[in-house]
Symmetry: C4
Subunit: 199 residues, 4 copies
């Protein structure tokens, strides 16, 4: 089975998710600069989530480049990831509207955590389909960044019970860690190509 | 006529349908965990419909892989399917907001039934275009799963007049039956390829 | 310049237009069958507009198949068509909410008329780019169907000042005329292919 | 890394942005022609923004045609542009609802300015990736049109403090300047092709 429609469908869903979040920036009735002030926390959480969804698209793009074919299991692992991504706009809006208070920050963390779990599951399905010695498997390696994220999300959820602002800081930190695109895969593909050229 | 734009357009529409459903998860004003409670039935019906729309995308994807070309009739059969899929978000939201009460559950069942009918019609148009002996025709075979679904939807609609929860259980059951991707087509394509290799 | 991104962008915009119309089917608060009654005219106008937008996608698809390349002027003629298509959801919702009364029916007719004009302009740009003797030019021919539609829309707009239901009937009539896909282009492409095979 | 998914994702996001703006044209309750009057400024700002977003898609399309491959930095420069484009619907709606008053016009100008800055950054990333002597670099040249736009947006923002209508006129002026598609790139590609054919 080819990967092209999986990519097209994922691109479509992620494009919609990243764009509908902006609908939560509700147009204020007044035309004064002061009428924008209540939108400030909504904007901040929008920016953070925009970056998160973009990171997922980016890494999805990188990972799929090393993919040769897909099967039914992979389609469902991908759909599972899209489901958790689709909850990001809701969690973002709730956190933004409640000024980063306790429960919204916890729910936001849980949604991010589940996204990370779903992404890891998708990566595993892809690796088991391509084999332990595939470009993809070697490129993903021990996935230290992924494991670190899971630990950080978990901590942020627990910390939110005491101080939601610290959690928010951790969410920003994880985003920064991932902003650098996944060089492992890019590198590995280049190495493979060099090796192939030498043959 | 090539199938590529048909696939692209269907991917686009299905991606939007699956994503706009999440807009019914309206952001609560309060920031307490209790403010999420009224959203619980909405979330449950969202999850069920997300799975249903994903199943349709998945099966559409599988079926289209065995398709060689399309004609005007097929374009309209596909549009007809997209129409009924586009009513899923409405039926989902109505059922979620009314806690799976009688009429919303009946309407939900009717929409699912019409989707199944539209999918069957599309399959028939494809088969009559490709011929009785095509890979597609042999792969779809007698379509026992499709017929069973039609019967189950019909029963669920009738039962909803007496107990909407039983109907809801049947909708979940049909989803589970379909969650396994359509191995028939995957298998048949592989066999064809093997046969071709032998020649 | 290749036509692939023009097709992809148009598919995306048309897919969104056809899907956001369903958002006007607002979920009623009550769970009784009677709460669906006010939605009936909204549903009727949704179905008509769904068919109209699908017709445009269909004909766009057919016309683009005979297209070899595009230029800047064609990109803008296409954008102009997408603009008028984007007003269809608004006109549909206004007509549906006001039970096909005078002004909404007039505005709906104007939007349909402008869509037809924009489509004709796009066709002319394509013909002038491909030459008078191209497959496309010969296939479109005198465009009797297109001219008839313009006359019918114009009449329907005028008639709506006296009786909006007659106008609504004309809008349905035009949709039926177009529901048959544009055989002219399909036929012409096949003939061309045959001629090429003979050489 | 190939550019195809970058194009597909950008097409998706831009298609959604250009279409959701129409949702701000809220359906009036009354069915009289007078009920459309308050929508007039919303429609005007919708048309202007529709043209702006279409210009960006158009120029993005033109620029990407001269692109051979992309890297991680380019993906993020592109995401940055999509972020600022995603704020256009909000700025448009606020300006439309407040009849082109001071602050909404300033914010609209800032969003347009940031879009232009993001586009310029994307162009620079592309040039530095393809080299100073690439088709792309030569085609973009000194980018006089881009620089002029930045100056005009800056002036419009300042002028809005005194007279928002003049600013609005400048926004229209910049749109007109750009409505002509970027001939530089089209020309340069054609020249390159001619040179290659001569070899």
């Amino acid at each position: 089975m080819t990967k092209s429609r999986l990519e097209a469908f994922s691109d479509g869903v992620i494009a919609i998710i990243i764009t509908i979040m902006v609908l939560e920036l509700r147009v204020p009735h007044g035309g004064e600069i002061a009428s924008l002030r209540p939108l400030f926390p909504v904007l901040i959480s929008y920016i953070l989530s925009f970056i998160y969804v973009a990171i997922y698209w980016n890494n999805h793009h990188h990972m799929m480049q090393a993919v040769r074919s897909v099967n039914g299991k992979i389609l469902w692992a991908n759909t599972h990831l899209l489901f958790w991504l689709s909850l990001v706009p809701f969690a973002t809006a709730w956190m933004g509207e409640n000024h980063f208070s306790k429960w919204p920050s916890i729910v936001y963390g849980i949604v991010l955590l589940m996204n990370a779990v779903a992404y890891t599951l998708l990566a595993r399905c892809l690796v088991s389909h391509h084999g332990k010695d595939s470009t993809l498997a070697l490129a993903l390696g021990s996935d230290g960044k992924g494991k670190l994220s899971l630990v950080l999300y978990g901590s942020a959820i627990l910390i939110a019970f005491f101080n939601a602002w610290v959690s928010f800081g951790i969410y920003i930190l994880v985003a920064i860690i991932w902003l650098v695109p996944d060089k492992r895969i890019e590198k590995r593909i280049e190495e493979e190509e060099e090796v192939e050229e030498h043959k």
